[in-house]
Amino acid sequence: MPADPQPATSAGFQPPSKSVARRSIAALANPRSIPRTVYFVGIVVFALTLPGWLAVYQLDWIIGALAFSIAALGLDILIGQAGQVSLAQAAFVGVGAVTAIDIGSHGLPWPVAFLAAMVICGVLSGLVGIPLLRARGLQVAIATLVFQLFAQTFLASSGVVSTSSYFNRPSYLTADSSYYYFSLILVVLAVIALKRVRITRPGRTFLAVRDSESRVAAFGIRAGTTKLLAYAMAGAAAGLGGAIFALQQGSLGPTGGPFQLQPSLLLVAVALIGGAGSPTGIIAASIVVNALPHILPTTAGNYTLVAVPVLMIVIMIFQPRGFGGFLKTLDTFLGNLLAGKPARYDPEPKHADIETTRRCIAGLREAQTLREHSATDPAPAARSPLLFVAKGITVRFGGVTALDSVDIAVERGKIVGLIGSNGAGKSTFFNVVSGLVRASGSIQYAGVDLMASPAFGRKGLGVARTFQEIGIPKQASVLENMVMAQSSLARYWTLEGILALPRTISTERKLRRQANLSLELFGLDHLADIPLGDLPHGTMRLVEVAAAVTTVPDLLLLDEATAGLTSQEADALADRLRLLRDEMGVSMLVIEHHVPFIANVCDYCYCLDTGKVIASGPPAEVTREPIVITSFLGEQEVHRTHRDRSDALAPDGELATDRTAPQPLVATSATAAADTRTPAKLLEVNGLCSGYGSLQVLFDVSFWIAQGEIVLLMGSNGAGKTTTLRTLCGLIKPKAGRIVFAGRDITGRSPEDLVTSGLVMVPEGRGMLPELTVAENLHLGAYTSRNNAEIKERLDASFETFPILAKRSKEQAGSLSGGEQQMLAIARALMSNPQLLLIDEASLGLSPLMTETTFEMLSRLNTVNGLSILVVEQKVAALDLAKRVYVMEKGQISTAAEGTGMNEIRSFLEKAYLGSSLD
């Protein structure tokens, strides 16, 4: 939300202002830490003096643990970063050891043997990765386990490991202490390499692939190659560990050796107990697991042996990030002691002023020269005015035709809207353009046949996109995501990146500069270091848009960029998109349900319905086409849109009458019905404080809902609406406050109990169980009832109310369109015969027509069945539905209004769609 004050309206509704105490709500601390050099000196002194304290046999175990920790560091790349749970790491340690001994015993110097072990294990691990490319999640764990079993059987079978071969240490490494220092140096080098991997292209692409393999092509990343690279790196690390072990031992016994099943499983344990991304933690874990049981006195050693499995369980229960997480917590604690409480940040986007905006855009323009695509772009004179022409695009999924010979064109420097009902095929079209879905037809893009280009190559051609659900990794920080999105521009070899050669340094600096400019442009620069997943949903979407803009694409595809944004936030986004178009000539294709946004931003517009283009033209014309109105907009939205636009565009006599159109019937009937009842309080919330872990989101929230009312909860992104609902329905236990429902104190009760007592929630995103059928979903709605006759009765009733559900009752819920899913979600909630229905973002992702249908349905349930409903909504139309509205701001209820008081909120929100808020 822009920080500058909006034009103030009259007293009933206060727009966001400084009068509301700025609480530290939804504000995470930027963690403090104590200076790195302190740790560094401590560790160095400890490591260097260690041989002085230990007996030779003890030092031997430590060396073994160091070798083991290098293999575990490699596994951290594979598991912690790329998300591939491999249980075969010890097999590669074994192969590395065998290779090193074989080569070393022929008299070659140790560097040759070590390098050969790393290369052979890297290649072998990569090869094993190939058949695993399509495997998902824990299938990888099992398949690698079988490989481990095979490898150890093979290595142990006679003739493979020659017990007579010896790999002798050179004279300068004969002493155990010197071999200890030698291994220590290799560990330090491995840690540095790991760190370099993390902060250069491979590390970022690993995270992206782990987060969503099917989408990374849209960022110019090849998922397969990336995964194989991770396998190869892990293999090379295992090879190095094996080589260190081999040179230490000199030879391998036929059955002993480091390649057994148990070490393999322990390696995974070490990598996780140590903590993803924490080399210190991993090395410490390796010493605890491998060395401590053997170097401590016998009694203590035995306890340590028992302690290892206990540690695996206890650490994972209390500190999911392992030793590393524990060290981090300690570090933050000490840092806070030394430097005082850290600064907090505001999770909302800032408002960039016009000068900043122009400076950012000027800076970003340079990026256009970075892209290889400019070479394929014909000279300006030869340019066709059309940047993008898709012809006859057809997609079939099984028997369903998702797109049916769709023709869509985008002119250079124009923003083209793509509207249409849910399930019309809009997102499928985007997937075709970015190459994630196969289609027939042709796409000409800037003189290139786009269909002939592989999916990962299209980003390099200047096609960038966002996804309907967040498509970038949530565990990475905002800045990392911005740099990740430029992977197609990070053109250096992985080895160059590890060695920090000049080309890498300069490229990385350039990418970071671009990322920062784009963040500043969207007012997100203060959030650069925050993990994306910690931000409110709408802000995440904005980060994704900013990430797509970083590479300054020629064609930007935005999939419902405004969903979850308030009207002011959507307006600010519209400003920036127009600037990108006007100043930099970025062409865009935007999927949108928010009609004022289309009207405000788009130069041209296509409307899709069941896979076909049913209308196209300037937005003002398209939104008036009868076929668009019946399939997408609905009558109410037409009123509203044209009422809004009549101020912005040329006034139109015919529209003037629309302004005074009577309020829709549903709203009056709802209000009237509610008025006749005695307002007994059904739900009363007092002084509610709630949040996630140490993060407090709600501060002293109090409100109530009367029996038979529809109450609306509005507010900006991250204001705490969803948290309020999640606390009410028992998913989050409140920190303080009292919730009374139907005369009973329900504070802290579980959702399972609350369903039984009549309080049911429809979660954001509709909460489908996609693998189950529609009928099964409905049956589960009545799970708490054991009366079969009653269940049957309610099932019949809901089939009567929602005939589409009866028709599709045997189909999987996941195959329904968004609107049908919303119907199913409501019908399912009603199956338990609730008294109060909580609905989070009832219209999120629904077309205006579906939104209207949903609202009508809620209104009918209210008037006919007397159901009380609490709706969280962003749309102005919801105001017609409710009797009362609460507005949340920064975790508090800032305004409550009912009856005529709501008109001021309405007029404020409607105005917000009109003008530009930029200057």
Partner: protein, 301 residues
């Protein structure tokens, strides 16, 4: 010759299949790949055999009946069920929100802990294990020219019957529907009033009990059981589960039988390396050609 080996393989595959059903049940109920399930089944078996050896009247009331096996199996099932409750409540529930890899490590911790407890309190030596069916279990009969025991037939039959009835239970009953809902989305299931913890407890209890059954037959075939031997056997069952499809009960049974046959046919001729190599090849082939397993369900987009 080949028939004999196939039949032997099927017999061993039957016990793997029981174990695979346990893995698949826990996996589809909780999304945890449990490395502990084998040891959870074996614990009671080892306890029972030790009990038998130290001489308890109940077991020796009729020496000729040779009730050590049945007694150990029953105790293993009871112990498995108890361990299932404890593990779900005190270990798996607190780590519910962790990554799959973390949960895998937690189950490894449980397996190692149980193994250490077995070493410490029961025995470090392999325990001889008789037939879980008592004296009649080792009775032989001739089938297609090869010799099979009643044990073999029982384990294969149990695997098929139990997998079938479990699948039916999941499809047709109210609680089965709740299990499938939990598999699909635990958070949403809670909002519908399903007690997700109860579903998880159910899968752990039944899974561990099935694993005890599998342990009894596997150790009867090999004649002995020792700490971590069932965890090693678990790997073959896991291979079978991944071949058949990690979320399909029928797939787990057929995959495990296939693994059993491969071992039975190849190991005597070409040695253990070739047999396990062929299993690896089959796993890789299935993952390449049908990543969800031969019978795995295709989830909705």
């Amino acid at each position: 010759m080949l028939t004999t080996q196939v039949v032997t393989g099927l017999a061993e595959g039957g016990a793997y299949a029981l174990m695979a059903v346990a893995i698949v049940l826990v996996f589809s109920g909780t999304r945890v790949l449990s490395l502990a399930i084998g040891e959870m089944g074996a614990f009671g078996l080892l306890l029972g055999l030790k009990w038998d050896r130290t001489g308890v009247p109940l077991v020796h009331w009729h020496p000729s009946a040779n009730l050590a096996g049945p007694f150990a199996m029953l105790l293993a099932i009871v112990c498995g069920a108890i361990l299932g409750v404890v593990v779900e409540r005190f270990i798996m529930r607190p780590v519910e929100d962790r990554s799959p890899a973390s949960k895998l490590v937690v189950t490894l911790g449980i397996a190692l802990f149980l193994a250490l407890a077995e070493y410490q309190f029961i025995s470090t030596n392999p325990q001889p294990m008789g037939s879980p069916l008592g004296a009649s279990g080792t009775g032989q009969l001739h089938l297609f020219g090869s010799v099979v025991t009643w044990d073999d037939i029982a384990s294969l039959g149990l695997a098929i019957v139990l997998a079938g009835s479990m699948a039916l239970f999941l499809q047709k009953t109210r609680f089965g529907l709740a299990v499938r809902a939990t598999t699909s989305n635990p958070g949403v299931s809670r909002l519908l009033g399903i007690r997700v913890a109860r579903v998880h407890r159910f899968t752990w209890v039944v899974g561990a009990a099935l694993s005890a059954l599998a342990a009894a037959f596997l150790s009867s075939t090999s004649g002995e059981i020792y700490p971590l031997s069932m965890t090693a056997a678990l790997l073959y069952a896991m291979a079978g589960a991944v071949i058949g499809g990690l979320d399909s009960l029928g797939g787990a049974v057929s995959g495990s039988l296939l693994v059993g046959i491969l071992q039975g046919v190849l190991a005597p001729r070409f040695g253990p390396t070739a047999a396990i190599g062929a299993t690896l090849g089959l796993v890789m082939l299935v993952l390449l050609a049908r990543p969800r397993g031969m019978f795995g369900t295709v989830d909705a987009s």
